[in-house]
């Protein structure tokens, strides 16, 4: 069953020169127990989409959708308060730069106990305090922090970034969410700590059957950890499918360029040879091309690309392009190896 089912979600922004369509009819569905990657470069609207899902966008953004269902409940029909109550029970979010998201003036222990809902505690009021403390320690153990006494009694600046991100994950887990949205959880972290955080998220996914929406700008770092991937470009839906489909048989020219420009996926290339790349740069919000927004940069663009393409489905591999790359031969050995490892 689909946990989250979004069809044709658009987000518009009020500007002095009229409304700008920042996210243009994006569809996203998340199944139970799935790790879905959401990949897009800066300005692709991936963070906006995540914020629209949990409903924390400011008033100047206008969200429309054909369908916006959470476990069969239509969120668009609910009032804001009902919706908030529902989502804060079921969805949690963690952000990049954990240091700046934690309160610098409050001890970690207090911040964690704040996040624990009273409904989770049982017994009389004089037993609650101890229960709360035990729950905090349990949460810290869950995210792999063994020195809980030291951690509870320290401020965010006294801890390393990786520990802070673990604390953030612990706070997110306090409400026992069904879906965790991780918005670039490892940006600006070292590769060894990045690995730790990703492994922790993968463990939580396996042990607690928690679905994860993993947002990142880099396709190559993500493929090891995801089951399915959705790619966005400049606010438009590009391609969605399983990790192997996206990595081995990309159908959209943009995904193809992303895979080809990745230095990790092309280990057989001789070093210092030229990498495949798209010309030009990412369009800014004020000057978006009409139709397919990749148009001016796309090597396969033709006249019909001035109209936005419809999404077509090839065995669960959805692609939004007038001229998809259908017959791709020559699978990349190293990539297939990686993708199969990620499934474990």
């Amino acid at each position: 069953m689909n946990l989250l089912d979004i069809r044709n979600l658009s987000i518009e922004l009020d500007t002095p020169s009229g409304r700008v369509l920042a996210v243009d009819r994006v569809s996203l569905s998340i199944k139970e127990g799935e790790v879905r990657g959401l990949v897009g470069e800066s300005g692709s609207g991936k963070s906006l989409l995540a914020q629209a899902i949990i409903g924390v966008l400011e008033d100047k953004w206008h969200v429309h959708a054909d369908r916006f269902h959470w476990r069969g409940i239509d969120l668009l029909r609910l009032s804001i308060d009902e919706r908030r109550a529902l989502l804060c029970r079921d969805i949690a979010m963690i952000f990049q730069e954990p240091m700046s998201c934690l309160d610098p003036t409050t001890l970690i222990g207090e911040q964690l106990s704040e996040a624990i809902d009273t409904s989770q505690l049982t017994g009389y009021f004089w037993q609650r305090k101890k229960q709360r403390k035990d729950a905090v320690i349990k949460l810290l153990h869950k995210v792999g922090i063994k020195k809980h006494v030291q951690c509870i009694n320290s401020y965010p600046h006294q801890l390393t970034e990786a520990i802070c991100q673990r604390v953030m994950i612990a706070i997110a887990l306090a409400g026992r969410p069904i879906l965790l949205i991780a918005d670039e959880p490892t940006a600006a972290m070292e590769s060894t700590t990045q690995g730790q955080i990703f492994r922790l998220l993968a463990n939580l996914n396996q042990l607690k059957n928690m679905s994860i929406l993993l947002i990142s700008h880099d396709l190559e770092n993500l493929t090891h950890w995801t089951n399915t991937i959705t790619v966005m470009y400049s606010g438009q839906f590009v391609e969605a499918g399983s990790t192997e489909q996206i990595f081995n048989k990309p159908m959209h020219p943009y995904t193809r360029a992303l895979v080809d420009s990745s230095t990790k996926a092309n280990l057989q290339l001789p070093s210092k040879s030229r990498l495949m790349t798209l010309p030009g740069s990412i369009p800014v919000l004020q000057h978006l091309p009409i139709g397919c927004r990749l148009g001016p940069r796309c090597p396969r663009a033709q006249q019909s690309c001035v109209a936005a393409p419809k999404v077509s489905n090839y065995h669960g591999h959805k692609v939004s392009c007038h001229f998809p790359l259908l017959r791709e031969t020559g699978k990349k050995e190293s990539v297939r190896h990686k993708a199969s490892k990620g499934k474990r």
Partner: protein, 258 residues
């Protein structure tokens, strides 16, 4: 080919607060030596606190080494002698947005090193700025723009233009590719490789991303806690990592070279 930059036994230690008869020292960099040839790239890989940024600062002259010598083309580079050094060794930083002065136009930005280091007149300088901007894939007319008018990838190109405008021999890329989006990063890598061939530049690349290191560099140096733990040809080191730090780094990025 002859050696371009030769670094001999560079070390750096900082004095820490301590009692006056009980002085404490922190060794940021243990003595290390290496050499680079023209048109070659040396990659420096390591975790935070491994001393790679300290090494970059010493090479570019922002810090003085505690001991050791640096030779460029066989000539000794003196500490505090910036005029000699800044013409030959230039540096590009990670975040190009904050390293460009927002109150100057691109022309003024690129003019500064020329006024300070060359005897060119105004017309020649303008011409040089124009050709340099074209070399990094921008238009000559971009010189009248301010930095905020450019996107992240273009700003990084301007930093590159500022680095190459004095015809240097060595460029230090301190995580210069890390903050870029993937499609712009591959453009930048292609541009850097082209310039290396055209101008005979030597690069010192500081990076975590082993994929880029594999593609971009000829030699690699892996550092941990101020020491070089492994060095050699990139392909050989990555095929057969010997030291624990290297193996851990490669494991954490799921990186395997067959």
């Amino acid at each position: 080919m002859s050696v371009l930059l030769d670094v001999k036994d560079i070390a750096k230690s900082y004095k820490l607060k301590g009692h006056w008869y009980h002085k404490r020292k922190f060794n940021a960099l243990s003595p290390l030596s290496f050499a680079i040839e023209a048109k070659k790239t040396l990659a420096i890989v390591g975790e935070t606190g491994s001393g790679k940024s300290t090494l970059a600062k010493i090479l570019v002259g922002a810090e003085n080494p505690t001991s050791g010598k640096i030779y460029l083309n066989g000539q000794l580079l003196q500490n505090q002698h910036f005029k000699q050094r800044c013409q030959h060794i230039r540096m590009i930083f990670q975040d190009s947005g904050t390293t460009l002065n927002p109150s100057l136009t691109i022309q003024e930005l690129l003019d500064e090193p020329l006024i300070l280091n060359t005897a060119l007149n105004e017309k020649q300088r303008k011409q040089l700025i124009r050709t340099t901007l074209q070399k990094v894939g921008l238009l000559g007319d971009h010189m009248n723009f301010y930095p905020h008018m450019f996107s992240g990838g273009q700003k990084q190109r301007i930093s590159l233009a500022r680095a190459i405008i004095l015809q240097p021999q060595v460029i230090i890329l301190d995580e210069a590719l890390a903050a870029l989006d993937p499609s712009l990063r591959s453009q930048m890598i292609n541009l850097l490789l082209d310039l290396q061939q055209q101008m005979g530049l030597a690069y010192i690349l500081i990076s975590h991303n082993l994929g880029i290191v594999r593609h971009f560099s000829d030699e690699v140096m892996i550092m941990s806690q101020g020491e070089v733990v492994e060095s050699g040809k990139t392909i050989e080191v990555m095929r057969n990592p010997q030291h624990k730090t290297t193996q851990k780094l490669m494991m954490s990025q799921n990186f395997q070279l067959k």
